[in-house]
Symmetry: C2
Subunit: 215 residues, 2 copies
């Protein structure tokens, strides 16, 4: 069955970005350590057009994450671009050929025409909220899964609305001591969270949970 | 080699107690859910003088946790008793025969004579700080490990001082949305944290880390 999956790297103290985030450094101080486990992996290198790389538990988890995904949703900070007049020139953090190779729906308040990149990625800018973005992403996914990336704010909105089916937290053994927390502002008793599995990789533990709306 | 081990149950959003903690309800609202995985276990029942109970991954983890432990350290809130004139009558939350069966060092600002309970537990009240408590606990442990329980404040002090060797976090899949957070107020870049293992049990994931002082 088609799933709406959420996947993010989080420090042991619950942050998905470090302190003092800026437009130039959206991961904040020390936040880049959250993603270091990804870069050596074979599947990461493949989506970036490189050969070689590590296999093993981390690679399996990342490969599975993208295996049957037909579209992607992200928040405006993850896409980047800032508030200035040059924001309509911004093409994301990933160069001319982003690693998504699928339709990507960017939640923003700033309307903009779709942006087609090399390698099959097209960015669509959605200004009418999370439910509309999910609906458009489902239609674009053609029966496959939909994957949600960061940032915290967008994830919190989807979790609070009970719309996410599955959540993968990649727990990195660092303390950032400040920054952007993932699991707050969700409200009430939050969604029902059932553990699915825990997988150990070098330098990271992958915790998968099934999420259900509290009724 | 003798180790100073720390072990605590934590919600997925990082709390070891829920919101609105009181002296009568030190776990706060919803906080009792953090410990529900423990009560059915065979090894928990044994230390409380009961037979039967569940075996399996959770039981193995709990059994290992106490297997080679010679003394225990806890904060004043975990011992309980409040600030009133009756505090010298308080004998802890555990009745006449506490489940520790070893010397327990309680960090407090209130001096008090040692309190010998049934079943081998003696509470010692330490007023001169965390290093003194650890030193006394080491001497009392007779070559065995020392185990640290809650609360957050005491654990944060020991983590910040780089004195803990091993940390077991039992991650319970609930969001408490407020309360007492474990991994904050540790300061600087904190200690160096190396993953040791992840074990899945029913309703809880056990993450063990090796802790080293940042040099």
């Amino acid at each position: 069955m088609r799933k709406f999956k959420f996947n993010i790297s989080m420090s042991l103290d619950g942050y998905i970005a470090g302190p003092n985030q800026t437009l130039e450094n959206p991961l904040g101080e020390g936040g880049e350590q959250l993603h270091e486990w990804v870069f050596p992996l074979k599947s990461w290198r493949e989506t970036h057009g490189m050969s070689g790389g590590e296999t093993g538990a981390n690679d399996d988890v990342l490969r599975e994450m993208f295996a049957d995904v037909g579209s992607y949703i992200m928040g405006r900070n993850m896409f980047g671009g800032g508030p200035g007049p040059w924001r309509d020139e911004w093409k994301g953090w990933w160069g001319d050929s982003p690693p998504y190779h699928m339709p990507v729906f960017v939640l923003t308040h700033h309307p903009r025409d779709p942006l087609s990149m090399q390698g099959g990625t097209t960015f669509f800018f959605v200004t009418d909220g999370i439910e509309s973005a999910l609906q458009q992403a489902k239609e674009a996914a053609g029966g496959k899964d939909i994957l949600l990336g960061g940032g915290a704010n967008v994830a919190q909105q989807y979790l609070a609305a009970g719309l996410i089916d599955e959540m993968d937290l990649h727990i990195v053994p660092i303390l950032l001591g400040g920054g952007e927390r993932l699991l707050e502002n969700i409200g009430g008793s939050g969604p029902k969270i059932e553990p699915v599995r825990a997988i150990e990789g070098p330098g990271v533990v992958h915790l998968k949970y099934r999420i259900a709306k509290t009724t």
